[in-house]
Assembly symmetry: C2
Homo-oligomer: 413 residues x 2
């Protein structure tokens, strides 16, 4: 029928029994008449053990070439074991590590970028009636040095393999049933989406939804590979991530998401002349801090306030740097706040509906939640609020936009 | 000064602390002015864990291609960790797995034979002032499939690398101080040999001495690579294994060794006509049994007795087969005995001394030990005796030939 790439994460291959369950699913997919290539991660816990050893012998920053050679053994273990299990069920299988499948990357060890994949060898395997079992996360540079794509890179590997093979679909097996309108642990009424666009998924992934790696979604969008996110513990359909034109029902809000991993820094009373913001953000960027939201607003006294967010892990260092830069800029004060959350609503339908943002602000206001920062794009609105309001905000927004979505007083544009 | 290949076994790299100790020795060797290539095994215990997983998922005989892909990760782990440790000490290092160093073998998975090694890449690394850290035990076939040389293959890898690099010496680091005249656990007066010939070492290795893999000694002899067997826990000189002409002191007996892993089968009263032995041994060989010693002797009644030894693990099956073949051959009886030991004396000096074998029989007779079988070669005499006499025989022979070697009444030829 088709050519299917399946990807299984570390939990799905976490022990012998689970590997056997994956083998069963893979073989069943082939016996249903498909060509199947499987991309797998290291068994859960394995990578952490290897990283621990690397720390012991290589210190805080182990030599990257050797680090990649070390951690790539995790996936090689899984592909060999899964191939054995598949063969034990009477099907043909052949394992491929990064070098064997010609998964060529640049030389950026531990965060390599994909250059090309030699699809011929895998096609030959598939044409031969065998299942190709492929190590995720790893590649080789043009000198044969082992590289890795960085944590979570197996999703990206799978999509890249699907693109190289011109697969009909890339199935991402995970421990949840698909993409939900909100975190089901926080919002009991959260619904599994049956279809969502690449654009929406990109926003959700970058706003804190953990079901898919951001980079893999970008890759799938670029090459137009439909993703099917589904549970490795059941047979039910999950969520399809596809081109916008293939998404029938364009929800105004397809997801409410939150991210607690940011912190806010505010630089007050900066003189308002050109280049002020640049001085600050160039310094932060050169120090390696990734700034997310930025809001700049004029105070009554003609001076400017600049507020921005950084990952919470970088908060202390970024605050220190901001203070030192700001004093040179003649700023009045620098304040920080770690107790914030970014809450976002995402939906393709926003393009066609006005008033979504203001309705969002009303919902939050009705709960007495103060909005500290706002950013918007064509298909999302994000606000920063006090961290203690996270659950309340997510539940109220979900109730207003998803549960009662049809009735919500949002004006058609 | 020179080009040195060092090989460290699983115990020597068994944990982070030991890997660090190996790194120190390697770096010290380089700083003394040498080019250094290091060949390492998997950390002790690692291979057993992988084999256990293979059994769980691949059954009793896992698919060999995948088995090799799996177990080869053990050595890849060690080379990455050792390279990290070396770099942490301020020296340059680069790791090479089988594919990366062009360690080409045939396609016989789990027991591959070496075809060639691409010495250029390693030479480049060494010329660049770096230490080459090489995975033992593994290679690739001409299609890039991972192969392994079989258990203990790391010794062979090291010698092959030394031959390819035209190294001055291949140092084999182990948990004993060198090659001893007997098992020191059994014979407290056993002495470490300072020099021994390849021929003697071959006999000792095939007769039960476990310090070196038989295959690696053959390889070293073929390419004339001097081996230096020494302890990874001390700095003292170990035992040099070299060409006969470089062994100054040709001992009559350089080693007394024993092997408890054989069992004896005796086929009695076979009619003595051509092809009788062939029928039996062809059947055994086709069933995969490796027969070691064979003795055939005429009985008084004109019929022949054939006695031979097989590995003890194969005893039950080989006995069954022998019975079935023998009944067709019209043999009178087939008997077996598992409680035997093969005790051997080995020495280059035997070539120039007559009477060594008879002196050996006298020593054993004086202890009341009955000799069941005898085989000899130019530089060794082996006897099969009852297993319970093992210690007594080894100690008495060591006392007669080694401790009192100079005074032994052995006639010069």
């Amino acid at each position: 029928m088709g050519l299917i790439v399946q990807k299984y994460g570390g939990t799905s291959v976490g022990n012998a029994e689970r590997i056997r369950a994956v083998a069963e699913r893979v073989v069943a997919t082939q016996r249903a008449g498909n060509k199947v290539a499987v991309v797998v991660s290291a068994m859960s816990g394995e990578t952490n053990k290897l990283v621990e050893l690397a720390r012991e012998l290589g210190g805080e920053t182990p030599p990257p070439r050797e680090y990649d050679a070390l951690v790539s053994t995790g996936e090689q273990k899984t592909i060999a074991l899964l191939s054995m299990a598949i063969q034990g069920m009477g099907a043909k299988a052949s394992s491929f590590n990064g070098a064997q499948m010609g998964f060529l990357t640049d030389k950026a060890h531990t965060k390599a970028r994909i250059k090309s994949i030699d699809a011929d060898r895998i096609h030959k395997t598939l044409d031969d009636g065998a299942i190709a079992v492929i190590a995720g996360f790893q590649g080789v540079d043009d000198e044969g040095n082992i590289t890795t794509l960085g944590r979570g890179g197996s999703d990206t590997s799978a999509v890249a393999v699907a693109a190289a093979l011109k697969a009909d679909v890339c199935e991402i097996y995970t421990d949840v049933a698909g993409v939900f309108t909100a975190d089901p642990n926080m919002v009991p009424s959260a619904k599994k989406l049956s279809r969502i666009s690449f654009e929406e998924m990109l926003e959700l992934a970058s706003l804190g939804a953990k079901v898919l790696q951001l980079r893999s979604v970008k890759f799938a969008m670029k090459y137009g590979i439909p993703l099917h996110v589904r549970s490795s513990f059941s047979d039910e359909e999950g969520t399809w991530v596809t081109r916008e034109e293939d998404v029938m029902e364009k929800l105004v809000v397809s997801g409410v998401t939150y991210n607690r991993n940011e912190a806010k820094i505010r630089v007050r009373g900066v003189e308002d002349h050109p280049g002020v913001a640049a001085t600050l953000f160039t310094a932060l960027s050169e120090a390696g801090f990734v700034v997310d939201m930025i809001v700049q607003n004029m105070g009554l006294d003609g001076a400017t306030d600049i507020t921005f967010t950084v990952p919470r892990d970088d908060y202390e260092e970024a605050l220190k740097l901001s203070k030192s830069v700001s004093s040179k800029m003649g700023a009045k004060a620098v304040e920080g706040d770690e107790s914030i959350t970014k809450v976002s609503i995402v939906g393709l339908g926003m393009k066609d509906h006005a008033g979504v943002a203001s309705r969002m602000f009303e919902v939050l206001a009705a709960d007495g939640i103060n909005i500290q920062m706002i950013t918007t794009s064509e298909i999302k609105v994000s606000v920063v609020i006090g961290e203690k309001y996270t659950e309340l905000a997510v539940r109220s927004l979900h109730a207003a936009f998803v549960d009662d979505g049809a009735e919500a007083p949002v004006a058609e544009s």
